[in-house]
Amino acid sequence: MSSLPVFWNEFTAWLPHVQLAHFLIVSAVLFALGLYGIVTRKNAILVLMGIELVLNAANINLIAFSRYSTLRLDGQVAAIFVIILAACEAAIALAIVLNIYHRFHTVNVDEVSNLKE
């Protein structure tokens, strides 16, 4: 097992020089957090917050690649469209959640389970 110290030395030499991979790691952590929030949260609005985290992670990826590759600004235009669609999604989802609250008097996603009145 002599490869582990070698890996560790390379890793600590790599860590202070921020490159593309650093941004990708931050975005991956944010994506995993958002996914965990979407699956585990009971409150529907906290599920929406998890979705926003996932969209932000995707945006970090797009913008990092537009800086560190020859794509120039195409990634940033894609990120603008992601932000537009996130705004639409938040508005529609909030309207649906308000309707669910008026009908079921709860917004917990595990209690809203029947289709009939």
């Binding site: 593309l20 944010l30 235009v77 537009i84 996130a86």
Partner: protein, 169 residues
């Protein structure tokens, strides 16, 4: 370690720690307000990546629009008189398995590629004018579709959230 790296680590720390609070806090209000810090941290990362227009857009739309909308939703659907607004979690074990699979895949990809990931950094000029020209030329069709989607979602949200719906007869 230069200033760029230091600033990156500050913003990455803010983003990830407040993201943890968003996902793991029992108090809904704490989650909502730490989402604010997550958005600010992500905007700082955008500034580091020389996306100035997108950083300002992030703060305007996410913090000024989406977060306020989410807070409205929280206040309207919970008993605000009750000071401690708690929420529970469900399906913790399947979620942990799912997140472990995703994180393991990403870590494996990272382990196999991080030595070769030293691509050159491009210095971008200020992006606002170029972005506007691109939206009006090569991305004109997605731009128009996005405007129609915004209009439809505006009408749809207003129609869906209206309380008394009268049948026209």
């Amino acid at each position: 370690m230069q200033l760029f790296d230091l600033v990156f680590y500050v913003f990455a720390f803010i983003t990830i720690v407040s993201g943890f609070i968003v996902v793991f806090s029992k108090n809904i209000i704490y989650s909502a307000f730490s989402l604010l810090f997550t958005f600010f941290g992500v905007a700082g990362l955008y500034v580091l990546l020389q996306a100035d227009f997108l950083a300002v857009t992030q703060i305007l739309i996410y913090v000024g629009g989406i977060l306020v909308l989410l807070l409205f939703g929280l206040m309207l659907t919970n008993n605000v008189i009750n000071v401690e607004i708690k929420t529970g979690t469900i399906q913790t074990v399947p979620a942990l398995i799912l997140v472990a699979i995703v994180a393991g895949t990403l870590a494996g990809l990272f382990y196999s590629t991080w030595r070769s990931a030293g691509s050159a950094m491009i210095n971008l000029p200020p992006t606002t004018q170029t972005l506007g020209e691109m939206l009006m030329t090569s991305y004109l069709l997605p731009f128009e579709i996005a405007s129609v989607v915004l209009l439809v979602s505006l009408i749809g949200a207003a129609m869906t959230a209206r309380r008394n719906r009268r049948v026209a007869s």
